[in-house]
């Protein structure tokens, strides 16, 4: 890309100086049909470069990032319910099973609408704007939205995926170091779009287990 731009640029600059009307008062009529096949060189260069890009980089990398998901049983699985203007992460609790969600049951105490009648949901807990993930194994996030389209973007992880109401779209990543990383919204979602942010906290596996226990304890305290 930069190469072809550079070559174009050099040729362009040379022509502007060499063929200015003072230096070259009469134009060469035949120059318009010179060059023949050689004039297709830039097109061929770009085509060749693009074929290499598509088949050797584009398709394999796309497949790895967006199509070949790690096995759920070997990953940390989270459900995400986005809304104007926050991220709600649902964890399955100790049983590893997610509760169904019911939009009718959404209230101020149950922002993502966990279904109270679903036995799988007894130990599910929700973390708002804070996604905890363990180091050392992949995380899969199944994403949906309550209201409008959002886009889940972690700049440092180079991952992004639109979060669409009425759809359940997955995304996965595997962190390589512990720490705090910012989540931003990349799709205009209303007046609070700019402040719809969250945080990914990458824990060591021990810290992650401790955090889950703590959240489960909080849940029991509030329900009892």
């Amino acid at each position: 890309m930069a190469t072809i731009f550079g070559l174009w640029g050099l040729f362009f600059a040379y022509c502007l100086i060499r063929f200015r009307s003072k230096k070259n008062p009469t134009a060469d009529y035949a120059a318009a049909s010179k060059g023949g096949l050689l004039s297709f060189l830039p097109d061929v260069m770009v085509l060749g470069f693009e074929i290499w890009l598509i088949f050797f980089l584009g398709l394999p990398i796309w497949a790895e990032i967006k199509e070949d998901f790690p096995k759920p049983e070997k990953s940390n699985v989270v459900e995400l319910v986005a809304e104007q203007f926050s991220w709600g992460f649902q964890y399955p609790g100790a049983d590893g099973l997610f509760s169904k969600r019911d939009p009718k049951q959404i209230s101020s105490g149950n922002t993502i609408g966990l279904d109270a009648n679903d036995p799988n949901g007894k130990d599910d807990f929700v973390s708002i704007n804070e996604l905890h993930v363990p180091l050392g194994k992949p995380t899969i996030v199944y994403m949906t939205s309550k209201d409008v389209i959002h886009s889940f973007f972690i700049p440092e992880f180079r991952v992004k995926q639109d979060v669409v109401p009425g759809m359940r779209v997955p995304l996965w990543f595997e962190p390589v170091q512990t720490g705090h990383f910012e989540i931003g919204c990349a799709q205009l979602c209303g007046l609070g779009h700019y402040r719809m942010r969250g945080e990914v906290v990458v824990d060591t596996p021990e810290e992650f287990e401790a955090w889950k226990k703590e959240k489960t304890k909080e849940l029991q305290q509030t329900s009892s």
């Binding site: 040729f11 022509c15 134009a27 009529y29 770009v46 180079r158 669409v164 109401p165």
Partner: protein, 572 residues
């Protein structure tokens, strides 16, 4: 053929307001769209202030917006979103397209094919007035409760469906604008096919005519799809339907009382099915203008005329099968993305071919550096940047990171502003002597050119850096997010460039109006150009040509060996 001049003097209103003459309609398009461009640019200046100094009161004019938009002069996020949506809409649909197609197409297409007028003059007049009404409606939407449309120029549902009433106004005025475009495009196609002068076969058409012809076809096929999409969205808003709404939406804690069953992605497909061909509607007329200016000022035939024409056709066809590259991350099936990546990469080939032909045209030339030529020359590298920076967006792995960041904004502004708009400005300098029979001031033209080119780069180049740093688009206050803080330092600089860009438009505006009345009178063909529009008097009278031109040669016969003068007009 209706080329015989009418000899009665029409009334003032018939002559200047409800005129049937393609030239008057063209000029109406020109002045209206230039006004819209200036207005849309003004909206951008407000946004750039907010981005440079988030939360600081807007200086000087801050008090004018009132408490609904900017209490105490400090812009509200809702207002910022309105400015963003309206800036995009106005610039694309009311500014660049009406200038490139409405003005240039109307004025010069009939002249370059040696016709007396458009095929359907009444349809032509209607097209302008519908566009004008659409524009007025669009501006008036700022007065709606809750302000103008604020869901981006793309207006994705469900956000746009639950937005304040300004969005309804947006949809209605879009319907007007689209209708106007359809009337225009049918007219261009019929005129080009049926009204070419004797001897003007397809391969003797100037590149400008080819570009306008293909553009008209794109408009005709692409725009009705958005028309349908907009009407469905209008029904979702006002008639309680659910074309774009899935079941169970909960907005601010309240369950939306809708049947559901719709798809939010359906609208995106309908929108981009228009809006990608739309990109070529923005750029093709500009490419046509650049071809004319280049040939005239290099004093030689364009390099690879046939390659250029074929590439334009190829672009036109391919532009209909790349739309979903705007939707790689939308949740659309991932295997579809593979196909659209391939088509998107392929479409760069004809663009590279056209640009290469233009650059090769300089070889062996005798370049005259006059104002229009400066604009045409600037188009080449700057459009090159715009085009090449598009590749990482069409390429899946890099698009994941760059999608919806400032990198995208930088890319399409290089295409549309330093590409299209630069060429459209150059075209005004090129054809001004033909339109008004007077010439524009060279010195102030050069001031305008250099100031404009430098400032445009000052605004848009930093966007690539911001985008690569991960700054998302459409953020009212980017500094709220930590990863955007590093590039915040560029924003005041961009504001400065934007304000300077405004300052450098004054030489142009003043030059335009002063030259209109006081400019030096010119001859019929001041640039010694070959195409047919230079064969009629300046300004062309009603009916254009004094006698029907007979075309004997191709469009760019400059410096033909053995000829005394270095140009041979098509009708000689």
């Amino acid at each position: 053929m209706s080329s015989s001049p009418e000899h009665h003097e029409p009334s003032f209103i018939r002559k200047y307001v409800f005129s049937l003459d393609h030239k008057t309609i063209g000029l109406q398009y020109m002045f209206t769209s230039l006004t819209f461009l200036l207005f849309g640019f003004g909206l951008m200046l407000l946004m750039r202030w907010q981005l440079a100094f988030p939360g600081k009161p807007i200086p000087i004019i801050g008090g004018l917006f009132g408490d609904t938009f900017a209490p105490g002069g400090i812009m509200l996020p809702e207002f910022y979103n309105q400015l963003g949506a309206m800036h995009g809409t106005i610039m694309v649909f009311l500014g660049v397209v009406p200038l490139g197609v409405g003005f240039y197409g109307n004025y010069f297409l009939p002249l370059q094919i040696g016709a007396g007028d458009m095929a359907f003059p009444r349809l032509n007049m209607m097209s302008y007035w519908i566009y004008f009404m659409g524009g007025v409606l669009m501006l008036s939407s700022f007065l709606m409760p809750g302000g103008a449309a604020q869901s981006g120029w793309t207006s994705y549902p469900p956000l746009s469906v639950i937005a304040p009433p300004g969005q309804t106004m947006w949809l209605i005025s879009m319907t007007f604008i689209i209708t106007s475009s359809l009337f225009g495009s049918i007219n261009f196609i019929v005129t080009t096919v049926n009204m070419r002068a004797p001897g003007l076969n397809w391969m003797r058409l100037p590149v400008f005519v080819w570009a306008q012809f293909i553009t008209a076809i794109l408009l005709l096929f692409a725009f009705p799809v958005l028309q349908a999409g907009a009407i469905l969205q209008l029904l979702d808003r006002v008639a309680g339907t659910s074309f774009y709404l899935p079941a169970g939406l909960v907005v601010s804690g309240t369950l939306l009382n809708r049947a559901g069953g719709g798809s939010a992605l359906l609208y995106q497909h309908l929108f981009w099915f228009l809006a990608h061909p739309e990109v070529y509607v923005l750029i093709l007329p500009a490419m046509g203008i650049v071809a004319e200016i280049l040939a005239t000022n290099t004093r030689k035939p364009l390099f690879g005329y046939k390659t250029i024409v074929r590439s334009i056709m190829f672009l036109g066809v391919l532009s209909f099968v790349v739309w979903a590259h705007h939707m790689f991350l939308s949740g659309m099936k991932t295997s579809l993305a593979r196909i659209f990546m391939v088509t998107t990469m392929v479409i760069s080939i004809p663009s590279v071919a056209i640009l290469s032909c233009y650059v090769f045209s300089l070889w062996g030339a005798s370049i005259r550096f006059r104002v229009p030529m400066l604009f045409a020359l600037a188009f080449l590298p700057l459009f090159g940047i715009g085009g090449l920076t598009g590749l990482p967006l069409g390429f899946l792995p890099t698009d994941i990171y760059l999608h919806d960041t400032y990198y995208v904004i930088g890319h399409f502004h290089y295409v549309v502003v330093t590409g299209s708009l630069i060429a459209l400005m150059g075209g005004i300098y090129h054809w001004f002597p033909k339109i008004f029979g007077r010439s524009m001031n060279e010195f102030w033209g050069k001031v305008h050119f250099w100031g404009t080119v430098v400032c445009m780069n000052g605004i848009f180049f930093p966007m690539f850096i911001q985008g690569l740093a991960g700054m998302q688009r459409r953020l009212y206050d980017p500094t709220v997010q930590a990863h955007n803080a590093t590039t915040q330092i560029l924003s005041p600089f961009q504001l400065l460039a934007a304000v300077s860009l405004l300052v450098f438009q004054f030489p142009f505006i003043i030059n335009l109006f002063v030259s209109l009345f006081k400019g030096q009178k010119t001859v019929e063909n001041p640039w010694e150009a070959t195409t047919l529009e230079w064969a009629c008097p300046s300004p062309p009278p009603h009916g254009n040509f004094l006698s029907l031109p007979q075309v004997n040669r191709g469009p760019y016969e400059y410096s033909v060996p053995g000829m005394k003068k270095d140009w041979s007009a098509q009708n000689e």
